[in-house]
């Protein structure tokens, strides 16, 4: 996706209490690279384990640092070994982490460092050399929504189901997820990066038009419930929801309120619900950090590109 820069470290903050049990959270630690709080990955599993010690382990390559997210043992529910290569700012990585959280799967998060692709990344994704990459029992799976489907397939016996049961509903989720990737999300980026006013206006119009379509899709897919997936977060929730961080950052950079309760009330309410969900909390990058990151990237590309 894009180059990753390490944001300045976060001042310490804590997710004070578990909203379900009201018990105080045990904060793992602050991630040394992203500065983000290491997410308490899976709330319900956190309560079951007696300890949640994280361990830091140096990988063979100098650049990558691994952090065990929610620790104790390396064993997952099925006793398998799960690693995820990613970066804090990537919405695509966030998709895969949300899916793992939903299924309560233990995994080792390996943060790729800005400007350097680790040996492990190059080995496990030689075709695209991009994150996210899920490595399950030594076998790599690439492409975010393919990984999400894989997670749903492997841990099919563990609720919630990420894709709905009915083939037509599944088709709707897949169709709209592809629309998000192919048309909508690119227009979000274009609206803050466009070089001309005309291009910007066109991109902005596309973002709004897309949101209108997605509002209708929400109505159709949710069947009156809180998520595209119904009662629980599903495939399309993950595909669209994980881009909310960047949408908010773009709103800040452009001064345009894209997700507007007046225009797309269902989506606006859904967005809040999504961000507040246990499986998502702690994964969504802070808006200000993303804005800073985006500005650094833009400056970098401007200096790199010759003047036209």
């Amino acid at each position: 996706m894009m180059l990753s820069l390490a944001p300045p470290s976060n001042p310490s903050r804590s997710l004070a209490t578990n909203p379900r049990t009201k018990a105080p959270f045990q904060i793992a630690k602050t991630h040394p690279i992203s500065g983000l709080l290491l997410p308490i990955r899976s709330m319900h599993r956190e309560l079951k384990l007696s300890s949640s010690i994280t361990s830091e382990k140096r990988l063979p390559t100098a650049q990558a640092v691994s952090e065990r997210v929610e620790g104790g043992t390396r064993m997952t529910r099925g006793g398998e070994d799960v690693k995820l290569l990613g970066r804090w700012a990537s919405p695509l990585v966030m998709r895969t982490r949300t899916a793992l959280n939903l299924k309560g799967v233990d995994y080792e998060f390996l943060e790729e460092v800005f400007g350097v692709k680790s040996e492990l990344l190059l080995e496990s994704n030689p075709v695209y050399k991009k994150i996210p990459v899920l490595i399950h029992e030594g076998k790599p799976v690439c492409e975010s929504m393919i990984i999400v489907q894989y997670i749903d397939d492997v841990w099919a016996a563990t609720p919630p189901a990420i894709l709905p049961a009915d083939p037509y509903d599944r088709a709707l989720h897949r169709f709209w997820a592809h629309y998000v990737d192919d048309k909508w999300f690119p227009s979000v980026f274009a609206s803050s990066r466009a070089q001309t006013e005309e291009a910007r206006a066109e991109a902005v119009e596309q973002v709004f038009a897309g949101l209108k379509l997605l509002e209708e899709a929400f109505q159709k897919c949710s069947k009156g419930k809180g998520f595209f997936g119904g009662d629980t977060i599903g495939y399309l929730d993950i595909a669209l929801g994980c881009s909310l961080g960047w949408l908010k950052a773009t709103e800040k950079m452009t001064g345009i309120k894209f997700l507007d309760e007046a225009k797309t009330p269902l989506l606006a309410q859904w967005a809040e619900r999504f961000c507040a969900n246990d499986a998502v909390r702690g994964l969504m990058p802070e808006t200000d950090k993303l804005v800073e990151f985006a500005k650094m990237l833009q400056a970098k590309f401007k200096t790199a590109a010759p003047a036209k």
């Binding site: 075709v127 489907q149 599944r170 169709f175």
Partner: protein, 226 residues
């Protein structure tokens, strides 16, 4: 098996439509084919695919599904005979990965090569060849991308079988030769010999004319800017 009402909106030449025909044929599903004129889109197409207004669109019991790979998954999930996707989750992920690679990386690189001129042509050839090597590497030792029998990835990549030879004829250049790409060459033969696939490719003469015309038109529009 209950007869359900199935329609497929498509064109005679679209490789994306062809893959749906293959899937339906493999599953033994009867359907009505509705030929669309993309220069003059029908109300039916606009009704069933308002977002993209493209083909293929599958209509099943009045419900429409668009985007070829979405349709393929729907077909596999709805009609259980002769599964297209494997059962194993990792193999399924691989099938989806190679299908995506074909559409998002390989196809654009082939097209770019086809419409390039001069210096850009060399670059484009290198890129397309790299992608061919990747596919060759993935196939090595296998009869089909899916293993012993034809599956999701094969259906998604099947356009290579007739389209590449078409482009080779127009460009007077052999891209997939047996020496450099033994597995791919064998796969192309295995694929086209597979029951149900054999006589399904669109008429070659008509395709040659169509692609030659497209290429000329492209050269004409870019002549001024090159």
């Amino acid at each position: 098996m209950a007869e359900a009402e199935v329609k497929l909106l498509g064109t005679w030449s679209s490789p994306f439509v062809l893959r749906i025909k293959w899937a339906l044929k493999l599953k033994g599903v009867e359907y009505d084919f509705i030929e669309e004129d993309l220069q003059n889109k029908s109300p039916l197409l606009l009704k069933y695919n308002p977002v993209h207004k493209k083909v293929p669109v599958l209509v099943h019991d009045g419900k429409s599904i668009a985007e070829s790979y979405v349709i393929l998954e729907y077909i596999d999930e709805t009609w259980k005979e002769n599964p297209i996707l494997p059962e194993d989750p990792y193999q399924r992920a691989m099938a989806r990965f190679w299908s995506k690679f074909g559409d998002e990386k390989f196809l654009p690189s082939m097209w770019k090569f086809f419409i390039s001129q001069g210096e850009k042509r060399e670059e484009a050839l290198v890129s397309a060849s790299e992608n061919l090597k990747i596919l060759e590497g993935e196939l090595k030792g296998k009869k089909f991308f899916n293993g012993e029998t034809l599956g999701f990835a094969d259906i998604s990549l099947g356009w290579i079988v007739d389209t590449v030879s078409l482009l080779e004829e127009i460009m007077e250049l052999k891209m997939i030769d047996e020496q450099r790409y033994p597995s791919l060459s064998a796969w192309m033969k295995n694929f086209s010999d597979f029951p149900g696939i054999k006589d399904s490719f669109p008429p070659q003469e008509r395709m040659l004319t169509k692609y030659r015309t497209l290429r000329e038109a492209y050269f004409a529009t870019t002549r001024g800017t090159n």
